[in-house]
C-alpha cells in the first residue's frame, strides 16, 4: 500500500517541479519540497535562537550585579517573557519540525511529506507570527510582560494592549504546529517504504510520531486558553476573574494541561535523535529498541496526568497534591529505562568521539542531571521550597539546553554532511562543543545554589548574598552566547566548502538516508526502496 501511495505522489510532484528547484527567491516562497522546507525551518529556528539569546544576555547583564543598571523592572519582565516564548516556540519547536521535514521522508524511504502544500503553509505562517510577537517590543505601553506562562489575572486584567497581538501570534503558531503534526502523522503512517513495519522504523520516526499526537492533543488547549483570555479582556466574560464568578486557578490548570505535554514535545524528538546517533558511534545496535518505544509512549501518556505539579503552591486539596506527586514520580521509571538503555548501548561498544557523539554524550550526562533535579521537584513538600526559585530555572535549563538544544546541535553535525555534501571541520566542531558544554554549566549550575539559598525567579534585582553566583552565571552566559555565533560560522563554512562527504558519511551509520548520495538530491526515493 505504501508503495503505491509513494509512487503516485512522486509523479505528481515531478510534474510540478520538473527536475530541480525553481530559480531565485520564489523557490523558497512556493516550495513544497521537504528538504527546502526543512532548511527554512532550521534557519528560522536559528535566527530565533540568536534573538532569544540576545534577550537572555540582556537579562544576565542586568543580573550581573545587584542594583538596577541597564534596564528598568518593567522592561526586564518583557525580556524574560519574550526570551521564554521565543526559545520555546521560535527556537526549539521549529528546529525539531525542520529536522522532521528533512529526515522523516528520507528515513522512511518516501519521496516527500504526505501533504506538501500544507507543509509550505505550516512554515510560512511562522515568520509572520514571530514578527508580530517581536513587534510588540515597539508598541506603545509595553510588550507582553507576564512571563511565558502568562498567568491570569496579570495577563488578562493587567496585561498591556499588546497582549492581543500576543494572543493572535499564539493562535498562528498553534495552527502551524497542528498542521505540521498532521503532516508528520500522515507521512509516517502512509508513506513508509515497503517492508518497513512500525517496529522496524528508525527510532527518530517513532519519537516524532508520538510527539505529533501530543501536539494535536494540546495545541487546541492552548488556543482555548488564549481565546478565553481574549474574551475576558474584551467581551465581558470572566473565565479567570473571581469578581465575575471565574477562577484564576482554572487558567493555570488549562495552561499546564497544555504546558506539561509541551515540555515533552521539546524533549521526545531529542530522545529520538540521541538514539540514532549513539549506536552509530558506539558501533553497536541500540539497546532495547522495543522498550525505548514503549518508554516513549509511557512518558507521553503520563505527561497528561501530571500537569498540576507546576502549581502545588496554589493550594490544592491534599488528595490532589498526593495524586500529582505520585504520578510525577512515576515518570522517572520510563525515563530511567531510556537512560539505562543508552548506557547499555555504549557498554562494550567501540566508541569514537566525533562532534555529534560528544553532543550526544553531553546530552545523556546533563539531561540526566536535569532529570534528577526534576525528581527532587516532584516531591511536593520540597517543591514548596523550590517552586518559583532559581532552582527551577536551573532545572529547566538543564533539560532544555543540554537536552533539547544539544540534541539539535548533535543532529545538525550528524546530518550536515548528508545535507550539504561536505564534512564540517572536526576541530572547529569540537571547539564549539567544549565551549558550549563548559559555559553552559558555568551558567546554569550556580543557579541551583541561588534557588536553594532563596532567590526567587523573574526578579530584576536581588539581595546581596546572591551576588557571587549571579556574577558567575552571567560570565558563563556570555561565553555560551559567543560560542553560538561560532557555530553559525562553522555551519556556513561547511555549506560553502569542506571535505567531500561519502554517501555513508559515518563508518557505522545505518538507515535509508545513508543509501542516498551526499548531498541528498532534490528529489529522492522516486521509486520506493524495499526494506527487508
Amino acid at each position: 500500500m505504501s508503495a503505491s501511495t509513494a509512487s503516485h505522489l512522486h509523479t505528481k510532484d515531478d510534474h510540478d517541479h520538473h527536475h530541480g528547484p525553481r530559480k531565485g527567491l520564489m523557490r523558497w516562497v512556493l516550495t513544497t519540497n521537504h528538504k527546502d522546507i526543512g532548511t527554512l525551518y532550521l534557519w528560522l529556528s536559528f535566527a530565533s535562537f540568536l534573538i532569544g539569546g540576545v534577550l537572555a544576555l540582556l537579562i544576565r547583564m542586568e543580573l550581573f550585579k545587584p542594583g538596577m543598571q541597564l534596564v528598568n523592572p518593567e522592561f526586564f519582565n518583557q525580556l524574560t517573557t519574550l526570551h521564554g516564548l521565543i526559545m520555546v516556540f521560535g527556537a526549539i519547536m521549529p528546529a525539531f519540525v525542520g529536522l522532521a521535514n528533512w529526515l522523516l521522508p528520507i528515513m522512511l524511504g518516501a519521496p516527500d511529506m504526505a501533504l506538501p502544500r500544507l507543509n509550505n503553509w505550516s512554515f510560512w505562517i511562522l515568520p509572520f507570527a514571530f514578527s508580530m510577537l517581536l513587534s510588540t517590543l515597539f508598541m506603545e505601553g509595553s510588550a507582553p510582560n507576564f512571563g511565558w506562562t502568562f498567568y491570569a489575572p496579570l495577563s488578562t486584567e493587567y496585561g498591556p494592549p499588546s497582549t492581543d497581538f500576543f494572543i493572535f501570534a499564539i493562535h498562528m503558531m498553534g495552527i502551524s504546529s497542528i498542521m505540521g503534526a498532521i503532516n508528520v502523522i500522515a507521512t509516517i503512517l502512509n508513506m513508509r517504504a515497503p517492508g518497513m513495519t512500525l517496529m522496524k522504523m528508525p527510532i527518530f520516526c517513532w519519537t516524532w510520531l508520538i510527539t505529533a499526537f501530543l501536539l494535536i492533543a494540546v495545541m487546541p488547549v492552548l488556543a482555548g486558553a488564549v481565546t478565553m483570555m481574549l474574551t475576558d479582556r474584551h467581551f465581558g466574560t470572566s473565565f479567570f476573574s473571581a469578581g465575575g464568578g471565574g477562577d484564576p486557578i482554572m487558567f493555570q490548570h488549562i495552561f499546564w494541561f497544555f504546558g506539561h505535554p509541551e515540555v515533552y514535545i521539546m524533549i521526545l524528538p531529542a530522545f529520538g535523535i540521541i538514539s540514532q546517533i549513539l549506536p552509530t558511534f558506539s558501533r553497536k545496535p541500540l539497546f532495547g529498541y522495543a522498550s525505548m518505544v514503549y518508554a516513549t509512549c509511557a512518558i507521553a501518556l503520563l505527561s497528561f496526568t501530571v500537569w498540576a505539579h507546576h502549581m502545588f503552591t496554589v493550594g490544592m486539596p491534599l488528595a490532589g497534591e498526593l495524586f500529582f506527586m505520585y504520578a510525577t514520580m512515576l515518570i522517572a521509571v520510563p525515563t530511567g529505562v531510556k537512560v539505562f538503555n543508552w548506557a547499555a548501548t555504549m557498554y562494550r561498544g567501540s566508541l569514537s568521539f566525533e562532534t555529534p557523539m560528544l553532543f550526544a554524550l553531553a546530552f545523556i550526562f546533563l539531561f540526566t542531571l536535569g532529570g534528577f533535579s526534576g525528581m527532587m521537584l516532584s516531591i511536593t513538600p520540597a517543591d514548596f521550597q523550590y517552586h518559583d526559585t532559581y532552582f527551577v530555572v536551573a532545572h529547566f535549563h538543564y533539560v532544555l539546553v543540554p537536552g533539547a538544544l544539544f540534541s539539535i546541535f548533535a543532529a545538525v553535525y550528524y546530518w550536515l554532511p548528508k545535507w550539504t555534501g561536505h564534512y564540517y571541520s572536526e576541530i572547529l566542531g569540537k571547539t564549539h562543543f567544549w565551549l558550549s558544554v563548559i559555559s553552559m554549566n558555568v551558567t546554569f549550575f550556580p543557579m541551583h545554589f541561588l534557588g536553594l539559598a532563596g532567590m526567587p525567579r523573574r526578579i530584576p534585582d536581588y539581595a546581596l548574598q546572591f551576588a557571587n553566583f549571579n556574577q558567575i552565571a552571567s560570565i558563563g552566559a556570555f561565553v555560551f552566547g559567543a560560542s553560538q555565533v561560532f557555530f553559525l560560522y562553522i555551519v556556513i563554512k561547511t555549506i560553502r566548502n569542506g571535505k567531500k562527504a561519502t554517501d555513508q558519511v559515518w563508518e557505522n551509520a545505518h538507515g535509508l538516508e545513508w543509501t542516498l548520495p551526499s548531498p541528498a538530491p532534490y528529489h529522492t526515493f522516486t521509486t520506493p526502496p524495499v526494506v527487508k
Binding site: P73, P153, L154, P248, S350, I379, F384, I472
Partner: protein, 380 residues
C-alpha cells in the same frame, strides 16, 4: 560587590569542590536549602537531603558505567564492539527497582504533606493580603492591622549610594509573631496572584484574588529572630520589590508588642480630629508619598509616562478648583491608579495631598486637613 574575574572563578571552584565534602563551607556561600526554624521546614530539609543522596548514588552508578565504557571501550584502543542489543531480564530489573526506590521516597513525603496541610488547633490567625506591591497583615483576633512595604531607598537601587546590609529585604513594619505557638495564616490578594514565602518556615502559598488559602507554622521556641522572604509569583513590575520580614519574639514580648500597637492605633485615630500645621503635614506627606506613591509616580513626581503620568505641573495637582478632584482621585482611584481609601488613613491622605500640592515647585501653599478627606469619604 564587583568581583573580579578570577575571584568569581575561585568562588565557583570552591563551591563545586565543597559541595558534598565539608559542611562548614556550605554556610559561607549558602549552597544548600535552609534547615529553617520550624518542624515543617526541618522535615522538608530532611526530605530534600534524602532525595539528593538517592539521586547522587544513582548518578554515580549510571555515570560510572558510561565513563567506564568511554575509557575502556573506545575504538582508538582497538576495542571490538559486542553485538548484544537486548535482554528482557535486565530490562525488567531496571524497571522494577526504581519503583521500590520511588515508594521509599514517597512514604516520608506523604507524611510530611499530611502534616503541612493540617491547619487545625491554631493559637492565632493572621490574614496576609498581597497588593501590588506590598503586603498587608491583619491580626484577626487582635484588631491590629498594618501594611508592610519595602524601605530600601531608590538611591541604593540605582547605585547612587552604597547598598545596605539587608538590601531589598527590609520593610517599614515587621510582621511580629510569637515563637512556640501554632500560627495560622490566611492568604489572599487584592489584585493579581502573589506568593507569600518565608524559607525559614518552609511556608510558601499563593495569594489568589477572590480566594483565601490557609497555611500554618510554628516557630521553634528557642529560635526567636528576624526571618526574611520575598514574593515568589510574578506579579508585575515591582515583583522583585515585595519582601517579607517576620520578627519572631518570645510570647511575653509578643504580648507587649500587641499592647504597644493598640496604643499607637488609638493615638492615630486621635490625630484624625486634630488641626495639623503646614510643616507637620509636609514632613509627614513627604514620608508617606515616598513610601506609597513614589512606587509609580517616582520621588521626583515625574512618573513613568504613559502608564504612570507625571504629577509635576499637572492641573489636578496644582490648581485650586481641582482640589476635591485630587482628593477623590487618591481615595477612589482612576484608571491604572488604585484606590487608596482602604489602605490609607485620612491623615495620611491629607498629608500626601498637601505635599503634592507644594512639592516640585508647585508651592500653592494650600493645606488639606484630615477633616476634609473625611468629608469626601462620607460622600462615597
Amino acid at each position: 560587590m564587583s568581583l573580579t574575574w578570577t575571584k568569581s572563578l575561585k568562588v565557583f571552584l570552591g563551591a563545586v569542590l565543597s559541595f558534598g565534602f565539608s559542611s562548614s563551607t556550605w554556610a559561607d556561600y549558602t549552597l544548600n536549602m535552609t534547615q529553617g526554624v520550624s518542624s515543617v521546614s526541618a522535615r522538608i530539609y530532611d526530605l530534600h537531603m534524602i532525595i539528593f543522596w538517592i539521586c547522587t548514588i544513582i548518578a554515580i552508578l549510571v555515570y560510572s558505567v558510561m565513563i567506564y565504557s568511554i575509557i575502556r571501550h573506545r575504538k582508538s584502543r582497538g576495542y571490538k564492539a559486542a553485538e548484544f542489543h537486548e535482554s528482557t531480564t535486565v530490562e525488567i530489573i531496571w524497571t522494577i527497582i526504581p519503583f521500590f526506590i520511588l515508594i521509599a521516597m514517597a512514604i516520608p513525603a506523604t507524611s510530611t504533606l499530611f502534616d503541612m496541610e493540617d491547619v487545625s488547633d491554631s493559637d492565632l490567625t493572621i490574614k496576609v493580603t498581597g497588593y501590588r506591591w506590598y503586603w498587608h497583615y491583619d491580626y484577626l483576633d487582635e484588631d491590629i492591622s498594618f501594611f508592610s512595604r519595602l524601605t530600601t531607598p531608590d538611591d541604593q537601587v540605582y547605585n547612587l549610594v552604597p547598598k545596605g546590609e539587608h538590601y531589598l529585604l527590609e520593610v517599614d513594619n515587621h510582621l511580629v509573631v510569637p515563637v512556640g505557638k501554632k500560627i495560622r495564616f490566611l492568604i489572599g490578594s487584592k489584585d493579581v496572584i502573589h506568593s507569600w514565602w518565608v524559607p525559614a518556615f518552609g511556608v510558601k502559598k499563593d495569594a489568589i484574588p477572590g480566594f483565601i488559602r490557609q497555611i500554618w507554622t510554628q516557630i521553634d521556641v528557642d529560635k526567636p529572630g528576624i526571618y526574611r522572604g520575598q514574593c515568589a509569583e510574578l506579579c508585575g513590575a515591582k515583583h522583585g520589590y515585595m519582601p517579607i520580614v517576620v520578627e519572631a519574639k518570645p510570647y511575653d514580648e509578643y504580648v507587649k508588642w500587641l499592647e504597644e500597637q493598640k496604643q499607637k492605633q488609638a493615638a492615630a485615630s486621635a490625630d484624625e480630629d486634630k488641626e495639623w500645621s503646614y510643616d507637620e503635614l509636609m514632613v509627614k506627606g513627604e514620608k508617606e508619598y515616598n513610601m506609597v506613591c513614589a512606587m509609580c509616580h517616582q520621588a521626583s513626581g515625574k512618573g513613568l509616562p504613559p502608564t504612570f503620568p507625571s504629577l509635576v505641573d499637572s492641573p489636578i495637582v496644582r490648581t485650586k478648583d481641582q482640589r476635591i478632584h485630587h482628593i477623590r482621585n487618591v481615595l477612589y482611584g482612576k484608571n491604572a491608579m488604585p484606590a487608596f481609601g482602604e489602605q490609607l488613613s485620612d491623615v495620611q491622605i491629607a498629608a500626601i495631598i498637601t505635599y503634592e500640592r507644594n512639592a516640585w515647585g508647585h508651592e500653592t501653599k494650600e493645606m488639606v486637613q484630615p477633616q476634609e478627606v473625611k468629608e469626601q469619604r462620607q460622600k462615597g
